[in-house]
């Protein structure tokens, strides 16, 4: 059993998303193709909205892959090529949204929830802790006397 685990993990590590990039779309220049793959993995297919354009079989995704490669061949930097597509389809095409005014809640929301939760936990622990923190009231003379009697009785027996 143990001997099987390592090969299993190795095969699992090889598994990646199935890409739809067709051989006919790929650039002969491996450097440019690698850049196109990197950008393509960050762009959302507008048809199947949770796939990247590299993963999607939609014809529009294919057109966008070809267009992206044309931009790179024309000498665009990665930033320029991405800006070209964002100019047409808006920030929605970016799978990683930029940090801007209308995405603030997206980026800062989790931290806000964390802070609110932390405040809640702090408030709760404080209210629970207060009674315990007060020193216990000292014994009355009658209690002291009773205690002394008990202890005396224990010692005798």
């Amino acid at each position: 059993m143990k001997r099987l685990i390592a090969p299993f993990l190795a095969v699992l590590a090889l598994a990646g998303p199935a890409l739809a990039v067709l051989p006919s779309e790929q650039l002969s220049n491996p450097k440019l193709e690698a850049r196109a793959r990197k950008i393509g993995a960050e762009l959302r297919c507008l048809v199947c909205q949770n796939e990247t354009i590299d993963e999607s079989e939609a014809p529009l995704a294919g057109d966008l892959r070809v267009l992206l490669r044309q931009r790179l061949l024309a000498g665009d930097s990665d930033q320029q090529a991405i800006a070209y597509i964002v100019a047409r389809y808006g920030h929605f095409v970016l799978l990683k949204p930029p940090f801007e005014a209308d995405t603030l809640i997206l980026w800062l929301g989790p931290f806000l929830v964390l802070v609110l939760g932390g405040l809640g936990v702090a408030a709760m622990t404080r209210t629970r802790a207060t009674p315990d923190m007060q020193p216990p009231p000292s014994l009355t003379p009658e209690e002291e006397a009773a205690l002394a009697r008990r202890l005396e009785a224990d010692r005798v027996s």
């Binding site: 507008l46 048809v47 966008l64 100019a87 047409r88 389809y89 808006g90 929605f92």
Partner: protein, 177 residues
């Protein structure tokens, strides 16, 4: 006062439910166009029918508000929308067409059978003009004003409801602009 803190989770739930109630009603496939208020991107496309005119950006400037309808004979929603476009044509609305990823034979057959509501049709077989327009799926319709600027984009078919509620008032406003 202390007791009220037990209402906090309930209140939070109410907020979350309200958020979902509003959020889930919105169609996530409706994307705002980046072109609103901007000039129509430049394109110059050959015709579908060799005897008819093709469509270039310049053809859409100066003629008053016009519609630019992205369609394809393969597109089911476009067939659903088609009778509405035919009715608009008979009302005198100027419509140009952009035939997306289609073959000329299929497009010609489609228009011969269903009628042709377009004044001009550009054949965008490669899909470049459509990408410049930021189109994600057919049909999409742009309202273009006299200066050739995009003023509105309808994602999905124009229904009679959409026409009377949104596009017709806008067209009337643009006409008097």
């Amino acid at each position: 006062m202390r007791r009220l803190i037990f209402l906090a989770p309930l209140l939070l739930l109410a907020v979350v439910v309200a958020g979902f109630a509003l959020g889930l009603r919105r169609d996530p496939s409706l994307l705002p166009s980046t072109l609103i208020g901007k000039p129509l991107p430049r394109f110059s496309l050959p015709p579908v029918d060799p005897k008819a005119p093709g469509l270039a950006t310049a053809d859409m400037i100066g003629g008053g508000p016009r519609l630019l309808n992205v369609f394809g004979s393969w597109c089911v929603s476009c067939r659903y929308e088609h009778p509405v476009l035919m009715a608009l044509k008979s009302q005198g609305v100027a419509i140009d067409g952009l035939d997306w990823r289609d073959t000329r034979a299929d497009a010609t057959r489609f228009l011969a059978a269903e009628g042709n509501p377009y004044e001009r049709i550009g054949d965008d077989e490669a899909g470049h003009a459509v990408i410049d327009l930021g189109v994600a799926a057919a049909p999409e319709t742009f309202v273009v004003d006299r200066q050739g600027r995009v003023r509105y984009k309808q994602v999905g078919p124009i229904t009679p409801e959409v026409w009377t509620a949104t596009i017709a008032p806008l067209m009337a406003r643009l006409k008097s602009e």
